[in-house]
Amino acid sequence: MSFLEYAPAPESRAILNLRDEYGLFIDGEFVEGHGTPFQTISPASEQRIAMISSADSTDVDAAVAAARRAYQRTWSRMSGRDRGKYLFRIARLLQERARELAVAESLDNGKPIKESRDVDVPLVAAWFFYYAGWADKLDHAGLGADPRSLGVAAQVIPWNFPLLMLAWKIAPALAAGNTVVLKPAETTPLTALLFAEIVQQADLPPGVVNIITGAGDTGAALVGHGDVDKVAFTGSTAVGRAIAKTVAGTDTKLTLELGGKAANIVFDDAPIDQAIEGIVNGIFFNQGHVCCAGSRLLVQENVHDEVVERLKARLSTLRLGDPLDKNTDIGAINSREQLERIRELSDAGVDEGAERWTAECEIPDDGFWFAPTIFTNVSTSHRIAREEIFGPVLSVLPFRTPAEAVAKANNTPYGLSAGIWTDKGSRILAVADRLRAGVIWANTFNRFDPSSPFGGYKESGYGREGGRHGLAAYLAPAGAARPARTHVAASEAAAVEAPRKSARTPKRQAKGTKR
């Protein structure tokens, strides 16, 4: 046999103790939803993992009401120190159950276990640790003394980093003193439900965290709910736009982390081997299901051929297959729907005249798979150079001068991230200054840290997650007006039952909240 094939090294599923059915997590309990339950499957095998409840609008009401009650009765009155302790507890529980969560994530999402194990889950715990420490230090968050929490946060997250996106949303919200209703993506609800068990183990007061599962209409009902004070969404620009319209004219605060079409710029003096790794990590990490993926490779023309040749050689060593195998580099595409979209855009690339190269790999019979693919001869006008593919597909475009690189990099309605590869420090800083993107990686790519703000320019959304900025997104200055609904908080229960209307009925409903 060839050593390079490596014998299978599957992570054991025995560590998982899954239920056959999962309800909605409302007010500290699992309850059955009123919508039609759906199954969550493993995208690598198309096998059913569990049945998942679906929340309809009455369930959304119940979840928001539970969050409101918890906000008024306990969470907003609790000292920051105690809120912090709960978050530290959660962080520790996450670490204790890290392996189990990693296996569940790879099973449900299709991402390689080495990523869920070494990236997603450690970052999840780190996120809670980081924000736990903020809970009793809000005076230093940059909003002046005694900033106040916002109230109930409605949070809708995508399927690409299910548990990590949950952490990005819940940790800062709770640290700031808000309660949350979170909806995970339809295709990846599993780890959010395991997280609900962790919330129970942490003995968090009921209603502080509520997790409701369902499809796009559940998400639309949640973000359009009249009694939420904050909406945080990560997902596609199309849905983000719809949500922005939904909350227009209301008192609801909104942060959006949306799509991207990041340029990864390789100059001719780049540290070449690390640049190749960075390109690979930039677009093939998590099968390219990354909003900040370096999907446009801008290469200085005098090293274009060399870079492409080295890249192809490197891609030929990537292993595609069972996400639970510890040696898998490229896992499964998350859903059939997403696979179709990747195929459609790739075909469009060929039709438009770009040259397609696909790494040779054996594609398993079942499940959803797409081999790493590179397009050369791509023009800025091609769809594959403009639209977010959200898959393992890289478009290579040449440039001649730094000015042209910057111009091409900025030539997109998105502005989430960018990469720069050069040995010249002064150029890095100057190019970083000129790039219109919220996160710039110089001689690295796809790095995340709870202390580091993340978020986009332009149509990649607004607001930041991570760091002090991410905390501020869940706070208002002490003097800031509070929406009318929360002034009645004093009379607790009565206030909760009273119907609450936002300043204005949403004009349009968000449709589809996946991603």
Binding site: G240, R436, G438, P453, F454, G455, K458
Partner: protein, 286 residues
């Protein structure tokens, strides 16, 4: 023998020039007691479009200037206004029908706000930015950068201080502005544009439109090359529709404010039109 006054023609201010509206339209500006004061240009959607083009062209230079330089330029505006206090007070008295003392107080407040914001230019990044202690061998820093082109519907009930309170903070970070002046009190806005033209503010950094906010605002709200929309003075408009239109390109939106405290000086007004950029760089001795 009394001298016959020479009235001023009030035009738009776009890209450092003072054109009439391309539509050829004007509207009558009247004093508080209803007598004719001047014909102001009534900007059209095409004027708004031209203003956005001019603003976009100005972003690179203005945002690329050093923060120290922007601070000096903004301070220079205050200096120039100081010498023209009487002119602005005259216009305010005539338009708003307030006492001379109140008008002068408004001018003084406007000047002081320029000074206040000028001082922020080389400081807000230190307050709003961060060095981030990431868990790895990386240098990591977050800095606020200008959002780009900001369209502003100026407060409608305050001719000068409202305008300055909305425009100045947007300029601090290096944004370029298209501002729709108070419909009823447009004259100080144009006079201010004349001050800006003779100051060191590069052409196109502030573009002033007079006319009907209700007519112009939707074109700015939906314009794809506008990055942010300040609706501070849009309370009387159907501003929710403007916010919805702005959502099409995910513009940053500030909602209407009413009353004397509208657009009160604050750091938030500066950072509202900034984007936090985080740069990671590998860090190693070897």
């Amino acid at each position: 023998m009394s001298r016959l006054a020479v009235p001023k023609t009030y035009k738009l201010a776009i890209g450092g020039k003072f054109p009439r509206s391309e539509s050829g339209r004007t509207y009558e500006v009247r004093t508080a007691d209803g007598s004719f004061l001047a014909n102001a240009a009534k900007a059209s959607r095409k004027d708004a479009r031209d203003a956005v083009v001019a603003a976009r062209a100005a972003v690179k230079g203005w945002s690329g200037a050093t923060a120290y330089n922007r601070g000096q330029v903004l301070y220079r505006i205050a200096e120039l206004l100081e010498g023209r206090r009487a002119q602005f007070a005259d216009e305010i008295v005539a338009l708003e029908g307030v006492t001379r003392a109140a008008a002068t107080a408004q001018v003084d407040e406007a000047i002081d706000r320029w000074v206040w914001y000028a001082g922020w230019a080389d400081k807000f990044a230190q307050v709003a930015g961060n060095a981030n202690p990431v868990a790895g061998p990386f240098f990591n820093i977050s800095v606020p950068e200008p959002t780009g082109v900001v369209a502003i519907i100026a407060p409608q009930d305050s001719s000068l201080v409202g305008l300055v309170s909305a425009v100045a903070p947007a300029l601090v970070a290096g944004n370029a502005v298209v501002v729709v002046a108070s419909e009823a009190y447009p004259l100080p806005a144009i006079s201010l544009a004349e001050v800006l033209a003779t100051s060191d503010v590069p052409g196109g950094v502030v573009n002033t439109l007079t006319g009907s906010p209700a007519e112009i605002a939707p074109w700015l709200a939906s314009h794809e090359d506008v990055n942010a929309l300040d609706l501070v003075g849009a309370g009387a408009l159907d501003w929710v529709d403007l916010e919805i239109a702005a959502a099409d390109t995910l513009k940053r939106v500030l909602r209407p404010e009413q009353g004397a405290d509208a657009a009160a000086p604050s750091l938030d007004r500066i950072t509202a039109f900034t984007e936090t950029k985080t740069v990671w760089h590998t860090k190693s001795m070897i």
